[in-house]
Structures are given as structure tokens and as C-alpha cells.
């Protein structure tokens, strides 16, 4: 892969990849490290020139594997509060999503994020997570049900207050 192609891929994927790792692990410092490690592995794999559309699921797959390794080792068990620098805070929204992500299982967080934030199709999610594409639909459905229930609970609690 030549440097110019890499620059284009990096520009198109670094931000979403960082957000994915940061929200799944709950730790921006881990996201900084893992994003660099992901691109390092991507480049050392000595792939031929790739289109952005092909590279994206591949990069998310590497990041997912790195995150899974950390979880297997028992790391990132606790979430650290990211500091909001230079931007206004929408406290309700922020607490909702962070609470939601914390209460979901890692696999559910991954599926929801890839489907609803990245807009990936089921086959792309399968490529990014290593799961069978046939099982994505049902797993995603369950994750969505659980997330919706948690959001509704939060809404009810806010209304009661």
C-alpha cells in the first residue's frame, strides 16, 4: 500500500474508529493507543491497495480483536469519564448514552454501534466482528430491544423527576 492511499484511508476512518473504541471501552486513553496499534497492524499486514469501503470493515475487525483481547485479560473493566474540552455539554444526552453503553454487554455495544452509528449492513458487521452473518440479525435485534428498554427506563425516570 502506498502512502497516499493510506493517508486517504486514515482521513476517512480514524475518527469513527476512535469513537468506536472510545465508546466501547469507555476510555479515551485506550482509544488513542488502540487506534495507532490498529493502523500499525493494518499496514504491517502488507495488503495490496484497498478502497476505503474495503478497508473500513477490515480496520474495525482489527480494533474489535484488540478490544476483545483486552476484555479477555480483564482490562477496561472500569469506565473513566472523558473530559469534554472546548465543547458545550448536553448532560442528559451524554449520561443516557454512557449509562446505556455501560449497561450493555460488550457484544451488544459493538453491534449497536456498527449498525446505528457506522450504518454498516449485516454482512459488513459480520466482517468487522468475525461473527456469522446469519446470527447478526438476531443478535442485533436482541441488543436493540435491550437498549430500547434501557432508554425507556431512563426516560420514565426523567419524567417522574
Amino acid at each position: 500500500m502506498d502512502e497516499q492511499t493510506f493517508h486517504a484511508i486514515y482521513a476517512g476512518t480514524a475518527k469513527p474508529l476512535w469513537a468506536y473504541i472510545a465508546r466501547l471501552s469507555g476510555r479515551p486513553d485506550v482509544a488513542n493507543d488502540l487506534v495507532q496499534e490498529t493502523y500499525c497492524r493494518f499496514l504491517t499486514a502488507q495488503l495490496r491497495n484497498m478502497e476505503l469501503a474495503q478497508a473500513k470493515p477490515y480496520l474495525f475487525r482489527i480494533a474489535t480483536n484488540l478490544l476483545n483481547d483486552r476484555w479477555r485479560k480483564g482490562e477496561d473493566v472500569t469506565w473513566s469519564e472523558p473530559e469534554e474540552i472546548g465543547c458545550e455539554r448536553d448532560l442528559d444526552m451524554q449520561i443516557d448514552v454512557r449509562d446505556l453503553m455501560q449497561q450493555l454487554k460488550p457484544r451488544e455495544r459493538q453491534l449497536l454501534w456498527l449498525a446505528y452509528v457506522e450504518g454498516m449492513t449485516h454482512s459488513e458487521i459480520a466482517k468487522s466482528t468475525g461473527l456469522h452473518s446469519m446470527s447478526i440479525r438476531i443478535l442485533l435485534f436482541r441488543a436493540r430491544q435491550r437498549a430500547a428498554e434501557l432508554l425507556r427506563q431512563k426516560e420514565r425516570a426523567l419524567h417522574e423527576v
Binding site: E3, F6, H7, Y10, A11, A14, K15, P16, W18, A19, A22, R23, P28, N32, V35, Q36, Y39, C40, F42, L43, T44, Q46, P82, E83, E84, I85, G86, C87, D90, M93, Q94, D96, V97, R98, L100, L112, W113, A115, Y116, V117, G119, T121, R137, F141, R144, Q145, A147, A148, L151
Partner: protein, 147 residues
Amino acid sequence: MKCDREQQVIEATRNGLWTSSLRDHLRHCALCTQTELIAASLRGDAVKAERLLDLPPAGMVWRRAQATRRERAVQRAARRPFLIVGALGIVYSVVFLLWGIFQIPQSVYRVFIAPPGLTEHVAITGVVLSAILAIAGSCVLVLETKR
């Protein structure tokens, strides 16, 4: 349970382009309402998360990856010579030990029988010890290189 327009709802949440028919569909479809609720919450959070970014420039990541690639290539290249050196070390040590045993068999027996302090005794103990250490060292070298 699946709605055919779910992907359209996700796309609309991502790019903000809601057609009137999609809005109308959203009012009647419980699944898509659920999807929109979650997608909007996560998307809003993603936009915020991206504002916290402090990523290194692409050039720096590229250079770091190139350095890692070179380092791994050197490691791969150095692996075979280390394996050969380790194997030769084992062969040399075994031959040396056998030679030492068969060359001076009487002295070997005397080590265990005669009282200590003899020059032969010290020399033979040294030969045996160095051969054992060479074998152990070669084994460690081979195992480490294989790992």
C-alpha cells in the same frame, strides 16, 4: 422481526435527510421508532466523542508502521541463523562431552575415587561442567528462537 425501511431510517439519522414518506412511516412502525431512538442517541454521542479527538497525523502513523515492519523483518531474518547456531552448539557439546569421557576414562573414575585437589580432577570437572552449561545454553537459545 424486521422492517424493510430500517436501513433508510438509520441512513436518515446519519445524514439528516428525512423524506416525508419516511417520517410518515416512522409514526406507524414501532420497530423503526425504536431504531430511530437508539440511532439518534448513539449518533449524537459519536459526534461528541469525535470532538475529544487527539489523533496523531497520518504521516506519523505511517512512519511508525514502517519502522515496525522493518523491525519484524529483521527479527524474521535473524531467526534462522540463531536456530542453526543453537543446533550446532548442542552437537558440539555432545561430541565434546563424549570425546572427554572416552579420551580419559581412568581419570573420570578417579574423580570419584581419588581425593580432591588433583589437577586432573579440576580439569575434568571443568570439562563436564562446561559441556553441561553449553548444552543447557544451546537448548535455551533454540527454544527462545523458536518462540
